[in-house]
Protein backbone atom coordinates (compact mmCIF):
# COMPACT_ATOMS: atom_id res chain seq x y z
CA UNK A 1 0.00 0.00 0.00
CA UNK A 2 1.09 3.51 -0.70
CA UNK A 3 1.94 5.64 2.25
CA UNK A 4 1.42 9.38 2.29
CA UNK A 5 4.81 10.79 1.35
CA UNK A 6 5.71 14.24 2.62
CA UNK A 7 5.62 16.75 -0.19
CA UNK A 8 3.10 14.80 -2.27
CA UNK A 9 0.98 16.96 -4.56
CA UNK A 10 -1.97 14.60 -4.26
CA UNK A 11 -2.53 11.87 -1.69
CA UNK A 12 -5.50 9.56 -1.24
CA UNK A 13 -6.01 7.31 1.75
CA UNK A 14 -8.42 4.42 2.28
CA UNK A 15 -10.80 5.42 -0.52
CA UNK A 16 -14.06 3.50 -0.68
CA UNK A 17 -16.76 3.81 -3.29
CA UNK A 18 -19.68 1.47 -3.96
CA UNK A 19 -22.18 1.47 -6.79
CA UNK A 20 -25.06 -0.52 -5.31
CA UNK A 21 -23.65 -3.87 -4.18
CA UNK A 22 -20.44 -3.40 -6.21
CA UNK A 23 -17.41 -2.12 -4.33
CA UNK A 24 -15.57 -0.19 -7.02
CA UNK A 25 -13.00 1.04 -4.50
CA UNK A 26 -12.27 -0.88 -1.35
CA UNK A 27 -9.49 0.88 0.53
CA UNK A 28 -7.46 2.37 -2.32
CA UNK A 29 -4.26 4.31 -1.63
CA UNK A 30 -2.47 6.73 -3.93
CA UNK A 31 0.14 9.45 -3.95
CA UNK A 32 1.92 11.52 -6.58
CA UNK A 33 4.58 14.23 -6.53
CA UNK A 34 4.94 17.25 -8.81
CA UNK A 35 6.62 16.28 -12.06
CA UNK A 36 5.93 12.59 -11.56
CA UNK A 37 4.10 10.34 -14.03
CA UNK A 38 2.24 7.54 -12.26
CA UNK A 39 0.41 4.82 -14.18
CA UNK A 40 -2.71 3.27 -12.67
CA UNK A 41 -2.93 -0.27 -14.00
CA UNK A 42 -5.30 -3.16 -13.51
CA UNK A 43 -7.74 -5.40 -15.36
CA UNK A 44 -11.10 -4.18 -16.67
CA UNK A 45 -13.53 -3.52 -13.85
CA UNK A 46 -10.77 -3.35 -11.23
CA UNK A 47 -11.71 0.21 -10.24
CA UNK A 48 -8.93 2.18 -11.93
CA UNK A 49 -11.22 4.66 -13.70
CA UNK A 50 -13.26 5.12 -10.50
CA UNK A 51 -10.01 5.87 -8.69
CA UNK A 52 -9.10 8.50 -11.30
CA UNK A 53 -12.56 10.08 -11.09
CA UNK A 54 -12.34 10.27 -7.30
CA UNK A 55 -8.79 11.69 -7.37
CA UNK A 56 -9.90 14.36 -9.86
CA UNK A 57 -12.89 15.34 -7.73
CA UNK A 58 -15.34 14.30 -10.44
CA UNK A 59 -16.94 11.59 -8.27
CA UNK A 60 -17.02 11.86 -4.48
CA UNK A 61 -15.83 8.75 -2.59
CA UNK A 62 -18.12 7.23 0.03
CA UNK A 63 -15.30 7.52 2.57
CA UNK A 64 -11.58 8.18 2.78
CA UNK A 65 -9.50 11.28 2.24
CA UNK A 66 -8.01 13.01 -0.80
CA UNK A 67 -5.53 15.78 -0.13
CA UNK A 68 -4.45 18.07 -2.95
CA UNK A 69 -1.69 20.55 -2.13
CA UNK A 70 -2.72 20.57 1.54
CA UNK A 71 -6.44 20.93 0.83
CA UNK A 72 -8.99 18.18 1.54
CA UNK A 73 -10.97 17.57 -1.64
CA UNK A 74 -13.77 15.68 0.07
CA UNK A 75 -14.59 18.69 2.25
CA UNK A 76 -14.90 21.14 -0.64
CA UNK A 77 -18.21 22.19 -2.15
CA UNK A 78 -19.05 21.17 -5.72
CA UNK A 79 -18.35 24.72 -6.85
CA UNK A 80 -14.93 24.73 -5.16
CA UNK A 81 -14.04 21.40 -6.74
CA UNK A 82 -15.15 22.64 -10.18
CA UNK A 83 -13.03 25.74 -9.78
CA UNK A 84 -10.05 23.60 -8.79
CA UNK A 85 -10.52 21.35 -11.81
CA UNK A 86 -10.68 24.36 -14.14
CA UNK A 87 -7.64 26.12 -12.72
CA UNK A 88 -5.26 23.36 -11.63
CA UNK A 89 -6.21 20.12 -13.38
CA UNK A 90 -6.10 19.04 -17.02
CA UNK A 91 -7.92 16.07 -18.57
CA UNK A 92 -7.32 13.78 -21.53
CA UNK A 93 -9.77 10.97 -22.23
CA UNK A 94 -9.72 8.00 -24.61
CA UNK A 95 -11.70 9.86 -27.21
CA UNK A 96 -10.55 13.47 -27.46
CA UNK A 97 -13.97 14.91 -26.70
CA UNK A 98 -13.27 17.98 -28.76
CA UNK A 99 -16.15 20.33 -29.56
CA UNK A 100 -17.01 19.45 -33.20
CA UNK A 101 -18.30 22.91 -34.13
CA UNK A 102 -15.06 24.68 -33.16
CA UNK A 103 -11.76 24.68 -35.06
CA UNK A 104 -8.82 22.91 -33.46
CA UNK A 105 -7.21 26.13 -32.24
CA UNK A 106 -10.56 27.27 -30.80
CA UNK A 107 -10.83 23.94 -29.00
CA UNK A 108 -7.37 24.31 -27.46
CA UNK A 109 -8.10 27.94 -26.53
CA UNK A 110 -11.46 27.09 -24.98
CA UNK A 111 -10.30 26.55 -21.35
CA UNK A 112 -8.51 29.93 -21.44
CA UNK A 113 -11.59 31.63 -22.89
CA UNK A 114 -13.74 30.08 -20.13
CA UNK A 115 -11.30 31.53 -17.60
CA UNK A 116 -11.82 35.00 -19.10
CA UNK A 117 -8.89 35.39 -21.51
CA UNK A 118 -9.38 37.43 -24.68
CA UNK A 119 -9.77 35.50 -27.91
CA UNK A 120 -6.47 36.86 -29.29
CA UNK A 121 -4.42 35.98 -26.18
CA UNK A 122 -6.10 32.60 -25.76
CA UNK A 123 -5.48 31.58 -29.37
CA UNK A 124 -1.87 32.76 -29.30
CA UNK A 125 -1.17 30.60 -26.24
CA UNK A 126 -3.16 27.75 -27.77
CA UNK A 127 -1.11 27.87 -30.95
CA UNK A 128 2.10 27.67 -28.92
CA UNK A 129 0.89 24.44 -27.36
CA UNK A 130 -0.25 23.11 -30.72
CA UNK A 131 3.28 23.67 -32.04
CA UNK A 132 4.72 21.67 -29.15
CA UNK A 133 2.28 18.86 -29.89
CA UNK A 134 3.13 19.12 -33.63
CA UNK A 135 -0.43 19.93 -34.74
CA UNK A 136 -0.21 23.68 -35.39
CA UNK A 137 -0.90 23.09 -39.09
CA UNK A 138 -4.39 21.87 -38.12
CA UNK A 139 -5.41 25.12 -36.43
CA UNK A 140 -8.19 25.98 -38.90
CA UNK A 141 -9.54 22.42 -39.24
CA UNK A 142 -12.49 21.06 -37.31
CA UNK A 143 -12.13 17.82 -35.26
CA UNK A 144 -14.06 15.85 -37.87
CA UNK A 145 -11.40 16.70 -40.45
CA UNK A 146 -8.37 15.34 -38.55
CA UNK A 147 -7.20 11.78 -37.78
CA UNK A 148 -7.61 10.09 -34.40
CA UNK A 149 -3.95 10.57 -33.52
CA UNK A 150 -4.01 14.24 -34.53
CA UNK A 151 -7.24 14.83 -32.59
CA UNK A 152 -5.71 13.27 -29.49
CA UNK A 153 -2.69 15.57 -29.74
CA UNK A 154 -5.08 18.52 -29.98
CA UNK A 155 -6.81 17.19 -26.85
CA UNK A 156 -3.46 16.98 -25.04
CA UNK A 157 -2.69 20.58 -26.06
CA UNK A 158 -6.09 21.64 -24.70
CA UNK A 159 -5.42 19.81 -21.43
CA UNK A 160 -2.08 21.57 -20.97
CA UNK A 161 -2.99 25.06 -22.19
CA UNK A 162 -3.94 26.40 -18.75
CA UNK A 163 -0.65 25.19 -17.23
CA UNK A 164 -2.24 22.60 -14.93
CA UNK A 165 -0.23 21.21 -12.03
CA UNK A 166 -1.92 17.83 -12.42
CA UNK A 167 -2.94 16.10 -15.62
CA UNK A 168 -5.40 13.18 -15.59
CA UNK A 169 -5.19 10.91 -18.64
CA UNK A 170 -7.71 8.06 -18.89
CA UNK A 171 -6.60 5.53 -21.55
CA UNK A 172 -5.29 8.41 -23.71
CA UNK A 173 -4.06 6.06 -26.44
CA UNK A 174 -6.85 3.50 -26.20
CA UNK A 175 -8.33 4.44 -29.57
CA UNK A 176 -5.02 4.82 -31.43
CA UNK A 177 -2.73 2.44 -33.31
CA UNK A 178 0.72 1.65 -31.82
CA UNK A 179 2.73 4.31 -33.66
CA UNK A 180 0.26 7.13 -33.02
CA UNK A 181 -0.21 5.99 -29.43
CA UNK A 182 3.52 6.08 -28.77
CA UNK A 183 3.93 9.53 -30.31
CA UNK A 184 1.06 10.87 -28.19
CA UNK A 185 2.70 9.40 -25.06
CA UNK A 186 6.11 10.86 -25.96
CA UNK A 187 4.65 14.31 -26.54
CA UNK A 188 2.35 14.16 -23.51
CA UNK A 189 5.05 13.09 -21.06
CA UNK A 190 7.68 15.45 -22.54
CA UNK A 191 5.27 18.40 -22.28
CA UNK A 192 4.20 17.51 -18.75
CA UNK A 193 7.78 17.04 -17.54
CA UNK A 194 8.87 20.34 -19.07
CA UNK A 195 6.24 22.16 -17.00
CA UNK A 196 6.75 19.99 -13.87
CA UNK A 197 3.11 18.86 -14.08
CA UNK A 198 2.24 15.54 -12.47
CA UNK A 199 0.42 12.99 -14.64
CA UNK A 200 -2.05 10.36 -13.43
CA UNK A 201 -2.21 7.90 -16.30
CA UNK A 202 -4.87 5.18 -16.37
CA UNK A 203 -3.96 2.42 -18.79
CA UNK A 204 -4.22 -1.33 -19.22
CA UNK A 205 -1.37 -1.33 -21.73
CA UNK A 206 2.13 -2.09 -20.44
CA UNK A 207 3.76 -0.27 -23.37
CA UNK A 208 1.90 2.90 -22.38
CA UNK A 209 2.67 2.40 -18.68
CA UNK A 210 6.36 2.17 -19.62
CA UNK A 211 6.27 5.96 -20.16
CA UNK A 212 5.54 6.43 -16.45
CA UNK A 213 7.96 6.73 -13.53
CA UNK A 214 6.14 4.09 -11.50
CA UNK A 215 2.88 2.21 -11.43
CA UNK A 216 0.05 1.59 -8.99
CA UNK A 217 -1.86 -1.64 -9.53
CA UNK A 218 -5.60 -1.72 -8.78
CA UNK A 219 -7.23 -5.06 -8.20
CA UNK A 220 -10.73 -5.55 -6.78
CA UNK A 221 -10.86 -1.90 -5.77
CA UNK A 222 -7.62 -2.08 -3.77
CA UNK A 223 -4.51 -0.35 -5.01
CA UNK A 224 -1.01 -1.55 -4.38
CA UNK A 225 2.12 0.45 -4.87
CA UNK A 226 4.50 -2.26 -6.05
CA UNK A 227 7.44 -0.07 -6.88
CA UNK A 228 8.93 2.98 -5.31
CA UNK A 229 9.63 6.05 -7.39
CA UNK A 230 12.73 5.74 -9.57
Amino acid sequence: MTTSHPGSLLTAHDLRKAYGPTHALDGAEFSIHSGEVVAIMGPSGSGKSTLLHCLAGIVPPDSGSITYDGRELTKMSDAQRSALRRSEFGFVFQFGQLVPELTCVENVALPLRLNGASRKDAERTALGWMERLEVDDLKAKRPGEVSGGQGQRVAVARALVTGPRLLFADEPTGALDSLNGERVMELLTDAARSTNAAVVLVTHEARVAAYSDREIVVRDGKSRDVERAI
Binding site: A206, A209, A210, S212, D213, E215, V217, R219, V226, E227
Partner: protein, 174 residues
Amino acid sequence: MSIGHTLLGLLESGPRHGYDLKRAFDEKFGHDRPLHYGQVYSTMSRLLKHGLVEVDGIEAGGGPERKRYAITDAGITDVQRWLATPEKPEEYLQSTLYTKVVLALLTRRDAAEILDTQRAEHLRSMRILTDRKRKGDLADQLICDHALFHLEADLRWLELTAARLDKLSEAVTR
Protein backbone atom coordinates in the same frame (compact mmCIF):
# COMPACT_ATOMS: atom_id res chain seq x y z
CA MET B 1 14.16 -23.40 -13.75
CA SER B 2 15.84 -24.26 -10.44
CA ILE B 3 15.27 -27.97 -9.86
CA GLY B 4 16.70 -27.72 -6.35
CA HIS B 5 14.25 -25.04 -5.27
CA THR B 6 11.36 -26.84 -6.91
CA LEU B 7 12.14 -30.10 -5.11
CA LEU B 8 12.53 -28.17 -1.85
CA GLY B 9 9.15 -26.54 -2.39
CA LEU B 10 7.55 -29.93 -3.02
CA LEU B 11 8.99 -31.15 0.28
CA GLU B 12 7.22 -28.38 2.20
CA SER B 13 3.97 -30.34 2.21
CA GLY B 14 5.72 -33.27 3.99
CA PRO B 15 8.66 -35.68 3.81
CA ARG B 16 8.99 -37.78 0.64
CA HIS B 17 11.21 -40.42 -0.88
CA GLY B 18 13.29 -39.51 -3.92
CA TYR B 19 11.00 -41.54 -6.12
CA ASP B 20 7.90 -39.68 -4.88
CA LEU B 21 9.66 -36.38 -5.46
CA LYS B 22 10.45 -37.29 -9.06
CA ARG B 23 6.88 -38.37 -9.66
CA ALA B 24 5.45 -35.16 -8.15
CA PHE B 25 7.88 -33.03 -10.16
CA ASP B 26 7.10 -34.79 -13.45
CA GLU B 27 3.38 -34.57 -12.83
CA LYS B 28 3.32 -30.86 -12.03
CA PHE B 29 6.29 -29.40 -13.90
CA GLY B 30 7.98 -32.08 -16.03
CA HIS B 31 5.66 -31.92 -19.03
CA ASP B 32 7.75 -33.30 -21.89
CA ARG B 33 11.00 -33.19 -19.90
CA PRO B 34 10.75 -35.58 -16.96
CA LEU B 35 13.58 -35.67 -14.39
CA HIS B 36 16.14 -38.45 -14.46
CA TYR B 37 16.57 -40.36 -11.21
CA GLY B 38 20.23 -39.34 -11.23
CA GLN B 39 19.20 -35.65 -11.22
CA VAL B 40 16.94 -36.20 -8.23
CA TYR B 41 19.55 -38.00 -6.15
CA SER B 42 22.42 -35.66 -7.04
CA THR B 43 20.20 -32.67 -6.22
CA MET B 44 19.12 -34.19 -2.91
CA SER B 45 22.77 -34.91 -1.99
CA ARG B 46 23.59 -31.26 -2.63
CA LEU B 47 20.62 -30.02 -0.60
CA LEU B 48 21.59 -32.42 2.20
CA LYS B 49 25.14 -31.13 2.17
CA HIS B 50 23.91 -27.52 2.48
CA GLY B 51 21.56 -28.34 5.35
CA LEU B 52 18.42 -27.51 3.36
CA VAL B 53 17.01 -31.02 3.76
CA GLU B 54 17.61 -33.84 6.23
CA VAL B 55 17.08 -37.58 6.12
CA ASP B 56 13.83 -38.30 7.88
CA GLY B 57 14.07 -42.06 7.73
CA ILE B 58 15.57 -44.95 5.81
CA GLU B 59 13.65 -47.97 4.62
CA ALA B 60 15.66 -51.09 4.09
CA GLY B 61 14.21 -53.47 1.55
CA GLY B 62 15.26 -56.05 -0.99
CA GLY B 63 16.86 -53.41 -3.21
CA PRO B 64 18.88 -50.33 -2.35
CA GLU B 65 18.05 -48.34 0.80
CA ARG B 66 15.26 -45.77 0.32
CA LYS B 67 15.88 -42.45 2.06
CA ARG B 68 13.00 -40.25 3.03
CA TYR B 69 13.83 -36.54 2.92
CA ALA B 70 12.35 -33.66 4.96
CA ILE B 71 12.87 -29.94 4.43
CA THR B 72 14.69 -28.02 7.19
CA ASP B 73 13.94 -24.48 8.43
CA ALA B 74 16.88 -23.26 6.37
CA GLY B 75 15.32 -24.99 3.35
CA ILE B 76 11.99 -23.23 3.89
CA THR B 77 13.80 -19.88 4.13
CA ASP B 78 15.65 -20.69 0.90
CA VAL B 79 12.42 -21.48 -0.96
CA GLN B 80 10.84 -18.30 0.38
CA ARG B 81 13.78 -16.21 -0.82
CA TRP B 82 13.68 -17.79 -4.28
CA LEU B 83 9.93 -17.26 -4.66
CA ALA B 84 10.15 -13.63 -3.56
CA THR B 85 13.01 -12.75 -5.93
CA PRO B 86 11.71 -11.66 -9.36
CA GLU B 87 13.22 -13.36 -12.39
CA LYS B 88 15.38 -11.29 -14.67
CA PRO B 89 13.02 -10.49 -17.55
CA GLU B 90 13.99 -12.37 -20.68
CA GLU B 91 12.23 -14.17 -23.44
CA TYR B 92 10.33 -17.34 -22.71
CA LEU B 93 10.70 -17.45 -18.96
CA GLN B 94 7.11 -18.51 -18.40
CA SER B 95 8.11 -22.01 -17.32
CA THR B 96 10.03 -20.62 -14.33
CA LEU B 97 7.23 -18.22 -13.46
CA TYR B 98 4.68 -20.99 -13.81
CA THR B 99 6.71 -23.16 -11.44
CA LYS B 100 6.96 -20.36 -8.89
CA VAL B 101 3.23 -19.63 -9.01
CA VAL B 102 2.26 -23.29 -8.64
CA LEU B 103 4.73 -23.82 -5.79
CA ALA B 104 3.41 -20.71 -4.04
CA LEU B 105 -0.13 -22.08 -4.28
CA LEU B 106 0.96 -25.54 -3.13
CA THR B 107 2.72 -24.09 -0.10
CA ARG B 108 -0.08 -21.59 0.63
CA ARG B 109 2.04 -18.52 -0.06
CA ASP B 110 0.76 -15.34 -1.73
CA ALA B 111 0.98 -16.12 -5.47
CA ALA B 112 -0.52 -12.72 -6.37
CA GLU B 113 2.41 -11.05 -4.62
CA ILE B 114 4.86 -13.03 -6.78
CA LEU B 115 3.02 -11.93 -9.93
CA ASP B 116 2.96 -8.29 -8.79
CA THR B 117 6.68 -8.32 -8.00
CA GLN B 118 7.40 -9.81 -11.40
CA ARG B 119 5.17 -7.26 -13.14
CA ALA B 120 7.13 -4.44 -11.49
CA GLU B 121 10.41 -6.00 -12.65
CA HIS B 122 9.12 -6.33 -16.22
CA LEU B 123 7.88 -2.75 -16.26
CA ARG B 124 11.23 -1.57 -14.95
CA SER B 125 12.90 -3.22 -17.96
CA MET B 126 10.26 -1.78 -20.28
CA ARG B 127 10.90 1.74 -18.95
CA ILE B 128 14.62 1.39 -19.63
CA LEU B 129 13.93 0.16 -23.18
CA THR B 130 11.33 2.90 -23.79
CA ASP B 131 13.79 5.54 -22.67
CA ARG B 132 16.50 4.09 -24.92
CA LYS B 133 14.02 4.05 -27.77
CA ARG B 134 13.10 7.70 -27.28
CA LYS B 135 16.73 8.75 -27.41
CA GLY B 136 17.92 6.34 -30.08
CA ASP B 137 17.92 6.11 -33.85
CA LEU B 138 15.66 3.92 -35.95
CA ALA B 139 17.84 0.83 -35.40
CA ASP B 140 17.62 1.34 -31.63
CA GLN B 141 13.88 1.77 -31.90
CA LEU B 142 13.44 -1.48 -33.80
CA ILE B 143 15.70 -3.45 -31.45
CA CYS B 144 13.93 -2.05 -28.39
CA ASP B 145 10.50 -2.67 -29.92
CA HIS B 146 11.37 -6.34 -30.41
CA ALA B 147 12.27 -6.70 -26.74
CA LEU B 148 9.28 -4.61 -25.63
CA PHE B 149 6.83 -6.82 -27.51
CA HIS B 150 8.26 -9.94 -25.85
CA LEU B 151 8.07 -8.37 -22.40
CA GLU B 152 4.53 -7.25 -23.13
CA ALA B 153 3.60 -10.84 -23.99
CA ASP B 154 5.00 -11.98 -20.62
CA LEU B 155 2.99 -9.27 -18.89
CA ARG B 156 -0.19 -10.37 -20.59
CA TRP B 157 0.49 -13.88 -19.33
CA LEU B 158 1.05 -12.47 -15.81
CA GLU B 159 -2.29 -10.65 -15.96
CA LEU B 160 -4.15 -13.70 -17.22
CA THR B 161 -2.58 -15.89 -14.55
CA ALA B 162 -3.46 -13.35 -11.86
CA ALA B 163 -7.06 -13.45 -13.05
CA ARG B 164 -7.05 -17.26 -12.92
CA LEU B 165 -5.31 -17.75 -9.57
CA ASP B 166 -8.41 -19.07 -7.81
CA LYS B 167 -9.01 -21.73 -10.46
CA LEU B 168 -5.32 -22.63 -10.60
CA SER B 169 -5.25 -22.96 -6.83
CA GLU B 170 -8.16 -25.41 -6.96
CA ALA B 171 -6.44 -27.42 -9.69
CA VAL B 172 -3.01 -27.71 -8.08
CA THR B 173 -4.16 -28.40 -4.53
CA ARG B 174 -6.82 -30.94 -5.55
